[in-house]
């Protein structure tokens, strides 16, 4: 057995290193859910598979469309639903015909309209430019409002984690609008992780209550789900030296080699099993929109246009109030409308309604009573929505036992919601995305097949015919940040920052750099130096404990084997 006792200052020891490649082709690794769960969580979260289109932007209904449709189709009298949820169902179904404006700024209008022979619903429909039987909040608009505000405001729906690369050292990537990122973590957990990813968020001064809460379950992936990847690794690690003990240590070669790990020209390089033939669906998901604890009145000023002065504009976008307000503004901010309402043969109008850029003013004859105050249409709808959301449990007596403000947060536990994406599409998307950037999967492979061991400071590489003639020969590569190995939690085993002087030097005091990042065997990220055993070349370096060493190439055993004498000099 080789001597692995710590090297004392002034002590030397010879170490033989070899450069042997075991170039495996088409190495198939099947990763079941259980296998995936053995990976460090951070790695699972960083292996992005696809951005799941939830918005139905291509015409076909997707998760959010189907979810809202399912909510709308619920029985508003179903005792299994909470009061707030039942009120939300009614809101989604509400039309001018079924609207109740009691308690809103438009309440006066309800009293005026009958006196001039008009139906309040018609006045309301006129103001909004819709038919009395049309929904105030069509599903398509509700979907977009929720996407824009509730979902898009969640940091994890705007950006996702991915591999840390030199170009993206933080490993944060944007997510397209209308999509949710799906990672290996989601697949491995049957999407239970969605409630963590899109649940409450509080970080760096950003807060979001989340829009997916509680337990999530999915049959998108069957119990026998597995990913089978075919890789082409050099299965043998690079042999290096841990100067502290002047002994051989190994650097992980997986994903760290000149050969591409995956051959994307092979149509079978990635196989995914366990995607059901039936339409894919989320079995259970609880969707949430938070009620703000205050009632927000319509603004009294049209300025700043086109929003107006309602205090609701100061709310976070993920609140129910803001969603309704923003959606209504987008819909009606440009509405211009004017109508005079007459009664009998009286040539003078009893009511004059004017709407300019969504700002509505109503004038009434002197004996008809006070008109409603001027207000934006979106404020009018916000008030209506707030009042209705907090109605009491009895639809016949909505003002009894009303829900206090702030306690009408809506949580719909949805079941069996089709996601509107086929298994083939998911398969294809995963392939395309990983092929476009295999870094994440390479990282996973590097963890799964980690063949490194010990604490090497540098390793030996033989540059051969696939390098330019001037580069061929023996090289010592100084380890890089990715060579620290990872513990079970995915954290580096060693702190690379402890290498205060990265690379090799030609003098003992480590002032004359001998190494650079010349591209050798496809590597241009590590410091490296050519070493000549015939000349007895010596280089110097400092390890992660601050000890300094002399490395002398003493002889070659074969072309791919070299003997180094390691001397600790400090």
């Amino acid at each position: 057995m080789p001597d692995t006792s710590p090297l004392e200052v002034g002590q030397s020891r010879e170490v033989a290193l070899r450069y042997v490649r075991f170039d495996v082709t088409g190495f198939a690794k099947r990763l079941t859910k259980a296998d995936l769960l053995t990976l460090p969580k951070d790695q699972r979260r960083r292996l992005w598979l696809l951005d799941l289109n939830i918005a139905g932007t291509d015409g076909a209904p997707k998760l959010i469309d189907n979810s809202l449709r399912a909510i709308r189709d619920l029985d508003p009298n179903d005792p299994a639903l909470g009061t707030a949820e039942r009120n939300m169902v009614r809101l989604l179904r509400m039309t001018p015909d079924t609207a109740r404006l009691e308690g809103t700024s438009m309440e006066e209008m309800l009293r005026i309209a009958p006196r001039i022979g008009l139906a309040p619903a018609q006045v309301l429909a006129d103001s909004l430019g819709i038919n009395p039987e049309d929904s105030f909040l069509p599903l398509e608009r509700a979907k977009n409002a929720i996407l824009r505000n509730v979902i898009r405001s969640h940091p994890n729906a705007r950006q996702r984690l991915g591999p840390k690369t030199p170009d993206n050292p933080e490993g944060v990537y944007p997510v397209p609008f209308g999509h949710l990122p799906v990672t290996l973590e989601d697949t491995a957990s049957d999407f239970a992780s969605l409630s963590e990813t899109f649940g409450p968020y509080a970080k760096d001064g950003v807060y979001h209550p989340g829009f997916i809460v509680g337990q999530v379950a999915s049959s998108i992936l069957k119990p026998d789900f597995a990913m089978t990847v075919k890789a082409n690794p050099n299965a043998l690690p690079f042999k290096g030296v841990d100067g502290t003990i002047a002994a051989v240590a190994s650097v992980n070669s997986i994903g760290n080699d000149k050969r591409p790990l995956f051959d994307f020209s092979d149509p079978d390089w990635l196989q995914i099993d366990g995607l059901p033939d039936a339409p894919l669906q989320i079995d259970r998901l609880t969707f949430q929109i938070v009620d703000h604890p205050e009632f927000h009145r319509a603004g009294t000023s049209p300025y700043p246009a086109p929003r107006g002065s309602s205090s609701a504009w100061n709310l976070p976008p993920w609140t129910f109030e803001y969603v309704v307000l923003e959606d209504s503004m987008v819909e009606f901010a440009g509405r211009d409308f004017a109508r005079d309402y007459f009664f009998g043969s009286n040539p003078d109008p009893l009511v004059r309604m004017r709407i300019e850029n969504g700002w509505m003013t109503v004038e009434t004859a002197a004996d008809l009573g006070s008109p409603p105050p001027p207000l934006y249409l979106h404020d009018m709808l916000l008030e209506a929505a707030q009042v209705r959301l907090h109605d009491g449990p009895d639809p016949a007596r909505p003002d009894q036992d009303r829900i206090p403000e702030g306690q009408a947060t809506i949580r719909f536990e949805l079941q069996n919601i089709p996601i509107g994406v086929t298994a083939d599409r998911i398969h294809q998307a995963i392939r395309e995305n990983i092929e476009a950037d295999p870094t994440g999967l390479v990282d996973v492979a590097a963890t799964l097949f980690d063949n490194g061991s010990g604490s090497p400071d540098f390793f030996y590489v033989r540059a051969e015919d696939d390098n330019a003639p001037a580069l061929r020969g023996d090289w010592l590569f100084f380890v890089g940040p990715d060579d620290m190995g990872r513990d079970e939690a995915g954290n580096p085993k060693r702190d690379y920052a402890r290498y205060e002087r990265v690379g090799f030097y030609s003098d003992e005091v480590l002032t004359a750099k001998a190494s650079d990042r010349t591209r050798v065997n496809g590597d241009d990220v590590r410091e490296k130096v050519r070493i000549d055993a015939d000349a007895g070349q010596r280089v110097y370096y400092q390890d992660d404990d601050g000890a300094a060493f002399e490395v002398a190439a003493t002889r070659k055993i074969t072309d791919r084997q070299i003997v180094l004498r390691i001397t600790r000099i400090r």
Partner: protein
């Protein structure tokens, strides 16, 4: 003489040793044979025991001085030993052109190998004589240099063989004798070499099986391009492999006239299964840690039980003695060894350390070394002259054909067509007979170019010099 021929194979070869070598290089004295009436007839031809009319004891000591030289000629294309390409074709950069060609000569490092035998014959009736024998081969060791062209074939082989016999010869009438002998055969052998795992299924299966799924050229039929890689060249030892078995021989002797004796004997085949321990040095990071994530992980030293199976071949012996006068005797010998019964040399290794469960490799590995040996024929003639009343002198000349074909020859069985010459003398004083002999047998230089997978191509030069001495006492 032909016993010494057998000894050459025995001493040089664990395999051949197993096949024929649990017998000593010379049994009885130099002139013992199927038509010799001495105590050693219990071995040679029990029918001839019937002609031993007085009780006698015979002791024999042999000293063998071997010279075994080998010059390897690699004729195949090899990859560099520091590579690890497991499947052809090879890229030019992986080929070591310097390996192909003639290498340096190596020689067995032994200088002396002892052997001996002890026999007794006791007449129990005027027509019946019992015979007893012990013959053994003590500490026969052949050693080749640790490094060099012999290391994949043999670094060291040791052999301790013995046989106990008991037989009876019956004089049926004036011209016919019959006899039978029971054998108890025991042996113990050891072997040390560098095992080329590329030529076994040990690693080939591990790589080919799921989950690694790498079709490879490793295995018994591995081409030279994937053989003799440094990583896969693992020191192997077989120690204390012992076995015992029993067999029998039948003999007839005819004496159609006073000047002519014809002896015929048959020795039955002896199946042997030696059981010992093996050690396979896997102390290379390739095996102990580098591929652990792929499920390949051996302990640094794999130890376990080893089972070696082969058979001692059946033999038919024919001897003719012509004695035209009291002072001259001519002995002719023909032996036919059924070496074709040996198809292969089978080694079974069993050890928990061999098992690689995740790669579908069990704890049992069978290594088959094909032999495809041929039956051999020995012919020889010895003339014995009584020079003085108490002194006899003899000269012998013989030939033995080769058992191993070019395809399977190795330093473990470096035989060939052999010429054997002997010169001996006997001094008889009263009840004592003292016999001494010098035997030289020379294997005709054999150049092999058709060794399977280029494992043993090259030139073989084998010469054995054997000094033997015998003392017989008649009562």
């Amino acid at each position: 003489v032909r016993r010494a021929l057998v000894a050459a194979a025995v001493l040089a070869s664990a395999a051949r040793a197993g096949a024929s070598g649990l017998t000593p290089p010379s049994v009885g004295h130099v002139w013992s044979g199927p038509v010799t009436a001495d105590a050693a007839a219990v071995f040679w031809n029990p029918a001839m025991l019937a002609d031993v009319r007085k009780a006698r004891i015979e002791g024999n000591v042999d000293l063998v001085f071997p010279s075994i030289r080998y010059t390897r000629e690699r004729r195949g294309v090899y990859q560099r030993e520091d590579s690890f390409k497991f499947r052809l074709p090879l890229e030019e950069s992986d080929i070591d052109r310097s390996k192909t060609g003639v290498g340096p000569e190596v020689a067995a490092q032994n200088v002396l190998i002892p052997a001996g035998s002890l026999f007794a014959a006791v007449p129990v009736h005027d027509r019946v004589t019992m015979g007893f024998g012990f013959f053994g081969l003590a500490g026969a060791i052949i050693t080749f240099p640790e490094f060099g062209p012999a290391r994949y074939q043999l670094q060291e082989a040791s052999l301790l063989g013995m046989a106990l016999t008991a037989g009876v010869g019956i004089r049926v009438n004036e011209w016919l004798r019959v006899g039978v002998t029971a054998y108890y055969v025991a042996g113990r052998m050891g072997l040390r070499k560098v095992a080329d795992l590329a030529g076994t299924d040990l690693l080939g299966k591990a790589l080919a099986n799921p989950p690694i799924n790498q079709p490879n050229d490793f295995g018994m039929n591995a081409p030279t391009g994937v053989r003799e890689l440094a990583v896969l060249s693992r020191p192997f030892t077989l120690t204390g492999a012992a076995a015992s078995s029993a067999t029998f021989s039948l003999g007839l002797a005819f004496e159609p006239s006073k000047v002519l004796t014809i002896g015929l004997a048959y020795v039955h085949q002896v199946p042997l299964k030696l059981q010992g321990r093996f050690g396979l040095d896997m102390n290379d990071e390739f095996f102990t840690q580098d591929l652990a994530a792929q499920g390949l992980k051996y302990p640094p030293l794999v130890e376990g039980d080893a089972f070696v199976e082969f058979s001692l071949p059946s033999v038919v012996k024919l001897g003719v003695a012509v004695q035209p006068s009291k002072d001259f005797r001519l002995q002719l010998l023909v032996e036919y060894f059924r070496y074709s019964e040996l198809k292969a040399f089978n080694i079974t290794l069993r050890s928990a350390g061999l098992a690689q469960p995740s790669l579908g490799v069990s704890d049992v590995v069978k290594l088959v070394e094909p032999l495809s040996w041929k039956d051999t024929v020995t012919v020889g003639a010895t003339g014995i002259v009584r020079a003085f009343p108490s002194v006899e002198l003899g000269l012998g000349l013989g030939y033995q054909s080769s058992a191993s074909p070019d395809s399977t020859i190795s330093l473990a069985s470096p035989d060939g067509d052999r010429i054997v010459a002997s010169a001996g003398g006997r001094l008889t004083v009263g009840r004592f007979e003292l016999t001494g002999a010098l035997q030289v047998h020379h294997v005709l230089t054999r150049t092999v170019t058709a060794s399977d997978f280029d494992k043993a191509n090259g030139t073989y030069k084998v010469t054995l010099v054997l000094f033997s001495g015998s003392l017989a006492v008649t009562f």
